[in-house]
């Protein structure tokens, strides 16, 4: 990609975000009695206190995990949405391991998170296997599988780990299994470091390793990859296993973090869907997921503060997100401008050739 095109893509993304925010502001003006206060709170809320800003960082962590997982799955051009279910099952598995195995402190969270990853990997691989064996659409089967994950987890919760004193939550996760806080008076936990490490390793895997290269070739043009001698089945499987592993790990980390004390997820949390916007904003490159996650977490935190203090509800952010995705994905958005830019460059290089 030439530099100017890269710059243009960055500009286009920025522009999409600005437009989406403007539209959200217009809606706030339409529905709110105190629109200016609402917008002000939305934007400055996250910086108002140490705790608020810590909330942004906490919210970032699960977004990064599922975002990286989905980046890897989407890079192979497999639109696998099972990251949502993988995250959910990851949480369940971490809770089960923490509650049932009684492992010592230090070991317990590591084992729990590893198991979360493994179960996540197996889970996201199911739609891939179905596709390979029966040619069923990965998109449809992965979407449906998420509900199986949800109700399976609810079943296990209700029948095996439920605290009868509470009703719809597990027993308290033992201290030996919980993740410590990194910074006092916040709930920021070591999951942040693990997520950042995954972002870097994910990047190295995709762009520097042999199998990552195969994966991107397959994702860009399957026909071409096959012709080059790449084993498509192997590549698709590995990408879905790895993506699911990271998403599942994310679920485990989240559950063991100081944010939760029990497994009480009786509906899908939506981090798998959010991963799609993370992935879109970071252009399938895991290295950029922290930035995208930070942006989304900031917006979310701002919105929830706004919802607490004003009459605008949290859901406004969903609208903003939706518009951003639409504009970033729409190839024709600003395409005339792009064409003009390319035409100008081409003419300039024509003149240059004449001079030489």
């Amino acid at each position: 990609m030439s530099n100017s095109v890269k710059r243009f893509e960055a500009f286009r993304m920025f522009f999409a975000i600005v437009i989406a925010l403007l539209i959200s502001f217009v809606i706030i003006f339409l529905v709110s009695k105190e629109p200016l206060t609402a917008i002000y709170t939305l934007i400055t809320g996250p910086f108002k206190s140490r705790r608020n800003f810590a909330n942004v960082i906490e919210a970032m962590i699960p977004l990064m995990f599922t975002g990286i997982g989905v980046c890897i799955m989407f890079s192979a051009n497999q639109i696998n949405l099972a990251g949502e279910g993988a995250f959910h099952l990851g949480g369940l598995v971490a809770a089960v391991v923490a509650l049932q195995l009684g492992l010592p402190a230090g070991v317990s969270p590591v084992v729990a998170i590893l198991f979360s990853g493994l179960v996540g990997a197996v889970f996201t691989a199911i739609p891939a296997v179905l596709k390979i064996k029966t040619n069923s659409s990965i998109l449809v089967s992965s979407l449906m599988l998420n509900y199986i994950a949800l109700w399976f987890a609810t079943f296990i919760l209700m029948h095996f780990i439920c605290d009868p004193g509470i009703g719809s939550a597990s027993y308290t996760i033992p201290d030996a299994s919980t993740l410590p806080t990194l910074i006092a008076k916040t709930r920021i936990h070591p999951g942040l470091i693990l997520a950042l490490a995954c972002a870097v390793l994910g990047y190295v895997f995709l762009f520097k390793s042999k199998i990552g290269y195969e994966l991107r070739l397959t994702g860009q043009n399957e026909e071409f990859a096959k012709y080059s001698g790449i084993n498509i089945v192997k590549v698709v499987l590995i990408s879905q296993l790895l993506g699911g592993f990271i998403a599942g790990m994310g679920g485990g980390v989240e559950l063991l973090s100081p944010i939760y004390t029990r497994f009480s997820w009786t509906s899908l949390l939506g981090y798998g869907w959010d991963a799609i916007i993370i992935c879109t904003l970071s252009k399938n490159n895991p290295l950029y997921t922290p930035l995208a996650a930070l942006f989304l977490a900031y917006l979310r935190t701002g919105a929830s503060i706004m919802a607490r203090y004003t009459d605008v509800t949290l859901e406004i952010v969903q609208i903003t997100q939706g518009i951003i995705i639409l504009l970033v994905v729409a190839e024709q958005f600003l395409s005339k401008y792009k064409h003009k830019m390319i035409a100008k460059e081409a003419m300039a290089s024509l003149k240059e050739e004449e001079v030489h």
Partner: protein, 517 residues
């Protein structure tokens, strides 16, 4: 001959979204009742200019005057309503419908507003066919008629919609010499009827034969418009190419070595399961180029897919250096040092959104030179990419440029560089120079000869008869899944002879013997 001007295109400029300048200040004027040639090499910008005229592409600059008044052509529908018709290189027909239904499609005669008046449709289709002396059965289904007739249907379709200006995009590319002659007679009739025909071609003798004037294009620019009877073919070709074209390569006689590839009783099937190759047997030796000519769709693709491992839908035996490849994966076959330049460079030959470097190592990144157990050796790959870009004269900003941003010729060079840099023993080149500029074509042809001289075995499938004639040591014609003729003395074969084998009028495979001296 002061005929009136019907259409003018002035100072047309068109730049594609990948930055390729396809037309740079091109002007064209068309007169009533003429056959106007648009002459130029592949990639010169002829098709782009016509897409602008037909409303498929919007020009970045310039204007179009229709009968003296400025007009913009927004879409193909718009072009048709203004009396411009186009026959594309790839036919736009619905195979399961009849000829008449295809002709009236979109402008059907109605009965009681909601129903198609089929009787009227057949009547009008017949009328228009008779008027221009097209000998066509209008009730035949399109999938059952041969290519030559399909083209006639396309022309009739345009005429039925009232085309006064008819654009024919390389109409003879898919025709045999005999069918071409028939087409010419009909085009002359259209001209005498006062219509304007734009004839896109790069074949000089055809232009000499039927065109009145010719506009010559070279790398996106117009080199001027000439009366065809006032300019010699050699002048035309000079204008078109920019220098004298050497069609005859200086070729050492082939030093034929051992059999590299042997095919025995091959029956191959396409993805729909239709048999396309029938009981084909041949040997390919090191140090020779076997040219395969033939009308597209006679089993060439299926033969190539079977040899390269892309398809296992075949029975019979294919051996590379004496080893059966039926159980081999594509990678196994490539490891036997087979290189493959695929027919369709964008769908099979490259990943347009990946950069040059990433495209160049798809077939050899597992080589210990370029990767360890897990990681790629980025530095070595980078250095080697630069070497290859230099060696293969690939015009680009850097190795990090997306392949899709390059011109067709340069994309093809990336593919050729990738395939040839593995030091292959067998090269399967399927349409290696289709649609690319002269410079790149010549470069690739020379490379093929270099490899042959070094002992490599080459199969060359090409629709460009000049190319097969000038490169092949043996020439086979493929017809209905078998070689209808094999010629070892390529120089003595004429185009007419070849045409007869391509059409199946002559077929040696049916009489047992397939060898020609």
């Amino acid at each position: 001959m002061a005929k009136e001007t019907v259409l003018e295109m002035q100072h047309i400029m068109k730049i594609y979204s990948n930055g390729v300048v396809a037309n740079e200040d091109v002007s064209l004027d068309l007169k009533k009742g003429e056959i106007h040639a648009l002459l130029g090499e592949n990639g010169a910008g002829k098709s782009t200019l016509m897409k602008v005229l037909f409303g498929i592409e919007t020009p970045d600059h310039g204007k179009i005057l229709l009968n003296g008044t400025e007009t913009t052509i927004k879409s193909p529908q718009d072009a048709i309503s203004k009396g411009i018709g186009m026959v594309h290189q790839h036919f736009m027909l619905l195979p399961s419908l009849s000829v008449a239904e295809n002709i009236i499609l979109g402008v059907e005669p109605r009965k009681k507003r909601f129903f198609i008046d089929m009787k009227q449709a057949i009547r009008s289709a017949k009328e228009i066919a008779e008027k221009y002396n097209f000998d066509i059965d209008v009730s035949a289904r399109v999938e059952e008629i041969p290519v030559g007739i399909k083209q006639k249907v396309e022309i009739l379709k345009a005429l039925y919609r009232g085309a006064d200006i008819l654009i024919l995009d390389e109409p003879t590319a898919v025709l045999t010499p005999q069918e071409t002659e028939e087409l010419f007679v009909q085009l002359e009739k259209l001209r005498d009827d006062g219509r304007t025909v734009i004839f896109i071609s790069h074949k000089l003798d055809e232009i000499k034969r039927i065109c009145d004037r010719a506009t010559i294009m070279r790398s996106g620019k117009s080199m001027g418009t000439y009366n065809v009877n006032e300019i010699s073919t050699s002048d035309m070709s000079k204008l078109m190419v920019g220098r004298e074209v050497v069609l005859e390569f200086e070729k050492q006689p082939a030093k034929v070595k051992d059999v590299m590839l042997s095919v025995r009783h091959l029956d191959a099937f396409n993805t729909q399961g239709v048999q396309k190759v029938r009981d084909l047997s041949f040997d390919l030796h090191g140090g020779e180029i076997l040219g395969i000519a033939g009308v597209e769709g006679n089993g060439q693709s299926e033969l190539i897919d079977a040899i390269t491992g892309l398809s296992k839908k075949y029975t019979g035996k294919i051996e590379i250096k004496g080893e059966d490849i039926k159980q081999d994966s594509i990678r196994d076959i490539r490891k036997k040092r087979l290189a493959h330049i695929p027919e369709d460079r964008m769908t099979t030959g490259c990943a347009a959104h990946l950069n040059i470097q990433e495209n160049m190592f798809a077939n050899q990144y597992t080589n210990p030179k370029y990767s360890g157990k897990v990681m790629l050796k980025s530095k070595v790959i980078q250095m080697r990419s630069d070497e290859l870009i230099k060696e293969y004269l690939i015009k680009c900003k850097s190795q990090k440029q997306e392949v899709g941003m390059l011109s067709g010729g340069n994309i093809q060079k990336v593919i050729v560089a990738r395939e040839f840099s593995t030091a292959p023993d067998i090269i399967i080149a399927n349409q290696p120079t289709r649609g690319i500029d002269v410079g790149a074509s010549e470069f690739i042809r020379k490379k093929l000869l270099e490899f042959r001289d070094a002992g490599c075995a080459v199969i060359l499938v090409s629709a460009d008869l000049n190319e097969v004639f000038s490169l092949s040591d043996r020439l086979a014609v493929m017809y209905k899944g078998n070689f209808s003729g094999v010629f070892t003395d390529v120089k003595s074969v004429t185009e007419e002879q070849l045409g007869q084998y391509m059409l199946g009028l002559k077929n040696d495979s049916e009489n047992g013997g397939v060898s020609h001296e």
